[in-house]
Symmetry: none
Subunit: 210 residues, 4 copies
């Protein structure tokens, strides 16, 4: 019986954690760190304020946990989707699609990552890059393969990846600023079109930039 009890206990703890993180994610995203009150998170989670502190040392740790969970999810989601695909270009396209739809589904996280540079710059950046570079190796391989096969141009891979990341993050940022008033994934086709083929049609002019 003891063991079953202990299992139950652990499960309950797990559920509580999730409850709290969900509530925290929602409110942090809407109001930002400073304007979020722990009271509000407790209420939304349907728990007492003291309980929050039993699960997270303080407000900052709770915020970090929200960020960590989000980026961990993001990384896993991308890896799973990418591994299903063979063709390098399609892989890159899948990364783009998965990235955008992840933030569309978890729009809470958008706010959390965009605000709060100040106090959490280091934390977010660390975590973000842990995720980012966790994926970057994979991305590098994909780009390398595509260059090797002569599919894409022989450009500096790091820079290309950094531009791609900037492009996606920028779209999410604009979407957030415009109050998420449109479907983020609708931008996918234009983004991949421009990223892959550019906007110049005139061959002669294109040469100037290649």
């Amino acid at each position: 019986m003891r063991i079953a009890d202990r299992a139950k206990r652990k499960e309950l703890t797990q559920i509580r954690q999730t409850q709290i993180l969900d509530a925290a994610s929602e409110i942090f995203s809407k109001k930002g760190f400073a304007h979020t009150q722990v009271d509000g998170i407790a209420n939304l989670a349907g728990l007492g304020k003291g309980t929050i502190y039993r699960y997270f040392k303080d407000k900052k740790k709770l915020f970090s946990a929200v960020v960590d969970r989000g980026l961990e999810d993001l990384k896993n989601t991308i890896l799973i989707e990418v591994d299903k695909i063979e063709d390098p270009l399609k892989k890159i396209e899948t990364v783009m699609r998965t990235y955008l739809s992840f933030f569309e589904r978890n729009s809470d996280l958008t706010g959390v990552l965009i605000h709060e540079q100040s106090s959490f710059q280091k934390r977010i950046a660390e975590r973000y890059f842990e995720h980012y570079y966790g994926n970057v190796d994979k991305m590098k391989q994909i780009f390398k393969e595509a260059i090797g096969k002569g599919i894409i141009k022989d450009i500096n891979i790091d820079n290309a990846i950094s531009v791609l990341a900037g492009l996606l993050n920028g779209l999410i940022y604009m979407w957030q600023i415009e109050n998420r008033s449109y479907k983020l994934s609708d931008k996918l086709s234009i983004v991949s079109k421009i990223f892959f083929t550019g906007i110049i049609r005139n061959e002669k002019r294109r040469k100037e930039y290649e």
Copy 2:
């Protein structure tokens, strides 16, 4: 003499305003709105706390003034630079260069615009788009001209501009997250290369996306 006095007074007032806005911009950018203390701004400006409140009704108004001044500057800077150029592609490239180097020079503003979505979402968005769309008309003309002359592809102009904006903002965002550890304007060549000509070399594969 009176008139000279009054002129002097006005000038001093102008100087104070600038002093305060400079200090505020710096600290708001570093610490974000919530963690910035008015006292700190006063000290950095070499003024008393009360003086800040003599010039700006409260902390929020001061913050907004920082944003307003920044975006106004940005708009003017871009318009001036673009008007010097004739060729449409070069114009677009100039917008990109000017935008990036503006934030490089006024890196204070970067933080201010990136944080504080929550409390100032409306204010920033309004101002940002006032600036943004103030420039967008000009951008549309440039794109239209380029399409008309057959220089660039016949794509949806609004979407192209929004992708360009996202691309630039995303770069700035990444730069900020990476602690401005490199020269932002160094990214210009790769960005314009990709934006203008894309990354696919293989003609056949390129067709899939065009």
Copy 3:
């Protein structure tokens, strides 16, 4: 057990309220609204500053609560005492005695009601007259009965009551100004003597005023 707990909780809340109101009443009376610090009230009540704000939204609301409680007490005290008496003149005398001894016992309230016309004019006046006219109906009946029975002169009742109120309040005001250096209730006999029978002895001269 739960119910007992909840009852205890409620009781504690009641006790805190009273603690705070008592402390507030004392300090507001001594120092007036503006010079009273919430800190001071908290200390006197043996509570933290934050606790005061848990019970009362802000300093103004706390002040109003002090006034409200005081006037409610006063009204009840008077009604209870007056109902014990039959004879109209004795009733009026009882109102006078009860009014004076109420302020003698609750001298805190004296200061509170006398100061703070400015900021709380409306609030105090409203509450005061709520109390005042709550009692005035009763007073009118008493005067009417006394006139009907030929005990007192056929004067304008409203005016008589307003003079009586002024007389009592004026005595309290003088007593307050003179630092409560004598027993307020000692004035009762002379006041009732003058109010009831006047000061003129000479019959002929008395006629001039009747």
Copy 4:
């Protein structure tokens, strides 16, 4: 020329003083001491803030000067009027009338004297009693004369005067609380009627109190 200049200077100083006291009186009365800003007084007086401080050491001293000037006026006004009359009862009636109409004319002072017990209790009380007892001697003589001539009852004179003062102050207090919504001097007839002859008609009952 020097002497004329100096005279002019002195006169200007006098005018400034009056300007400031008038403005101060008005605002202190409306808003009370704490809520009155020196800025407001300066503006109403049409002077710079610094000038106020040239004439009065600080805000408290200015307030006291307002009170002092008011009570000095009151005392003089009463003395002048009373000296015109012969008959003792008429003299008392004249004090009552003059007192009430003084506050009716200088309603600014009403507020000033009623609020601000707290910080100025001592100051006001001192000044008030300086005025009060400055007049009380005169009043005592009047009462003594009236008693000597058998016109009024042989009551304790101090008490009678204190009741009279309370009665008048109470009327002014009620008038202030009711927002000066009626003519204060209209209360004179009923007040003097009650004060002089009382309210009991029934001879037998009257005996109970005499």
